[in-house]
């Protein structure tokens, strides 16, 4: 967890820990970290991590929403948005 930037947002911290398996380069994760450009993750690997996140928060994130998400910050925002509904 030392690589994770200080952030008050609990969701952000939780997401970062769930994303660790695809952070193979050990990057310092920020809200701006891009899944494909920075983490060089395969799109399928991102979808698999999203299933972990869904079960953690007991929400479903449709693929149509996931395909619009590029960065960790956008994913955090999407989770907040779905939890509000």
């Amino acid at each position: 967890m030392s690589a994770i930037q200080e952030d008050n947002d609990l969701v952000f911290h939780k997401i970062c820990s769930l994303i660790e398996p695809i952070n193979q380069k050990g990057l310092k994760l920020t809200r701006e970290t891009d899944f494909i450009a920075d983490l060089e993750a395969e799109s399928v690997a991102v979808l698999d991590v999203v299933m972990e996140i869904e079960d953690n928060y007991d929400i479903s994130i449709p693929m149509n929403v996931i395909s619009e998400i590029k960065t960790i910050g956008e994913l955090v925002d999407a989770i907040h948005e779905i939890k509000k509904q």
């Binding site: 395969e42 979808l47 299933m51 449709p62």
Partner: protein, 398 residues
Amino acid sequence: MNLFDKFEDKAVVYNQLSDIGKNPFTVVMEEIISPTRAKIKGRETVLAGTHNYLGLTFQEEAIKAAQTALAEQGTGTTGSRFANGTFSGHRHLEEQLADYLGLGHCVVFSTGYQANLGAISALAHPGSDVILIDADCHACIYDGCQLSGAETIRFRHNSPESLDKRMARLDPELKGRLVCIEGMYSMFGDVAPIKEFAEVTHKHGGMLYVDEAHSFGVYGSTGRGCSEADDMMEHIDFYSGTFSKSLASIGGFVASRHKELEYLRFSSRPYMFTASPSPANIASATAALTAIRSKHEIRTKLWENVARLHGSIKQLGFTLAADPAPVISVLFPNREIAFAAWSFLLEQGVYVNLAIPPGTPNATSLLRLSVSAAHNGDDLDKIVAAYNGMAAQFVDAK
């Protein structure tokens, strides 16, 4: 920045492989010798990487039927199923399939890909419906979801529990709930628990769509697929299949016990706006279906070959992806070793499929062997000998 820039990274790898003459994705079969033999780079090779599960590509009756159809009905239909390309042969095959499957209705498409693309995209609409798909579903199911525009949610592979959770979370406003799974999955050769999926799907007011592309003609006591093996033929809502595997032709179909399946004929774009299957394709598929219905010994032979190959390969210490099935996949630690092993087997005169991420489950690298009922003793010996050699050469892979 231009249109071609985005291809650069992949093109470098693709061209390098082509330059050294070892691109797994550009293999040409120069001469087809039999259902299980072809010349590749001038050399007779055992085909263990085509989906010719029942080995019917050279079946005498099928060839004769195709030749007759070609002579009597011409080379192509020059029309679409919807407008100007439905011949009596298309209708006859639909009736034969519906009768065999014991499902009242069947629609024939031009390929298996288009069957899934066409049915899924027409069945689900944005706003009112939701599609739930197994994470390991084939690309054509993903593409069908995308073309439909409906909200799509993935659940964990072969996990009815994961589906249950996701269906329980659905907005009650979403009325149409389509759940898509496959019978046997083509990458690992593993099989879906269809009974459990049907229970969960129906409990939440959904309809179950089962793609039996790789299991039609192969599983079940009369060859009707994994749905028959699980005694679920009367409970599933949609059944899709292809002509390009056990039926040894080209085309696809969707069958259903619901009469509303017929609505696809005026609402499925991949049905309406493409050329219908050629008379020869329809005739050979119809003949192959007759063989599947009457010659149970073909299926028996396939499963004997599966037992022998799965047993022999397992004994060599490789990690196999699933229990004995017509697809036998050996898992490798990374794509480089898998590629080297694929090249090794081809040099030994055995052609299998190399599968590497992103097209594989859990980003695995694997060699996929497709078993055929037409593999004779000599074919099986050659395959086992090549895998023996691979076991000695690639000790780290085990």
